[in-house]
């Protein structure tokens, strides 16, 4: 198994863990953390393909990961603000209880 394949298997396992957390858990914060794990797995793929790809001196993978990290920070802030708004409306953060659509 080449190093690139090992990196890709690592990120696939991380992505699947995040997917299972999103599908199984019913706490909004843990669902958000699962999404973060999937995003991190995508970043791992960018770095792996940059490291073993055809033109590493260009650095496209690294530049992409820099922007992905910035967007991930924005996503975490907005997601946790949504969690706090959800808690203010229904006094818990269980996603199964969030059935009201009106504000």
């Amino acid at each position: 198994m080449s190093p690139l394949q090992a990196c890709l298997l690592f990120s696939s396992a991380l992505f699947s863990l995040g997917l299972i957390a999103v599908l199984v858990r019913s706490n909004a914060i843990l669902v958000l953390l699962g999404v973060e794990l999937m995003l991190n797995a995508a970043n791992l793929n960018f770095i792996a393909f940059w490291r073993y790809g055809p033109a590493p001196a260009e650095g496209h993978g690294v530049v992409f990961v820099v922007f992905a990290l910035a967007v991930a920070a924005a996503e975490a802030a907005v997601g946790l603000a949504l969690v706090i708004a959800l808690h203010r409306h229904q006094r818990n953060v269980r996603l199964g209880d969030a059935r009201r659509l009106h504000g």
Binding site: L8, A13, F15, L19, I20, G59, L69, A85, R88, H89
Partner: protein
């Protein structure tokens, strides 16, 4: 390869245990450990700047925001019985299917083999790239961050007395 295996095992174990625990504080702390593992992977792969950015953003900032959210939304009394979502078996089936599909695709694809030398792409080259050809994207990212943080403040602050339950 041994270092990579150790990093991967540590990261995956921390993430798996974190997402299985019921206590959210323990989950958040273990997820911080798995983010440190991901930063170690970046260091192993030769992307030092990304590793330090990962430590600053995830281990430093996002973990604090997550811990604040956990503490702010913690129920006053401990829940009597754990809430079953009823999606455990389908969720694990879907996740396992995705993992099998991805692993099969990775292992059967003709990928470039061999361990090349670490590419010479340091902080200096990254800065030149960011402020040269990608300067517009950098400005757009700054605007996105500003708007997202303002939106987060508006969402979390609410609209006053309308929100009384």
């Amino acid at each position: 390869m041994i270092a990579l295996a150790a990093i991967a095992l540590g990261t995956l174990a921390a993430a798996a245990v974190a997402l299985a625990l019921r206590d959210l504080i323990h989950s958040a702390l273990l997820l911080i450990a798995s983010w440190v593992g991901i930063a170690a992977f970046y260091l192993w792969a030769g992307a030092e700047f990304i590793a330090f950015a990962q430590v600053l953003i995830y281990v430093g900032a996002i973990s604090m925001v997550v811990l604040f959210a956990v503490l702010l939304t913690r129920p006053p009394t401990a829940p009597a019985t754990p809430v079953r979502s009823g999606r455990t078996v389908p969720g694990f089936l879907a996740g396992g299917a995705v993992l099998g599909l991805l692993a099969g695709a990775v292992l059967s694809s003709p990928l470039p083999a061999g361990m090349g030398a670490a590419p010479a792409f340091g902080v200096r080259e990254l800065g030149l790239k960011l402020l040269g050809p990608h300067a517009g994207a950098l400005l757009a990212t700054g605007a996105l961050l500003t708007v997202a943080l303002l939106g987060a403040v508006v969402l979390a602050a609410g609209r006053g007395k309308e929100d009384a339950p």
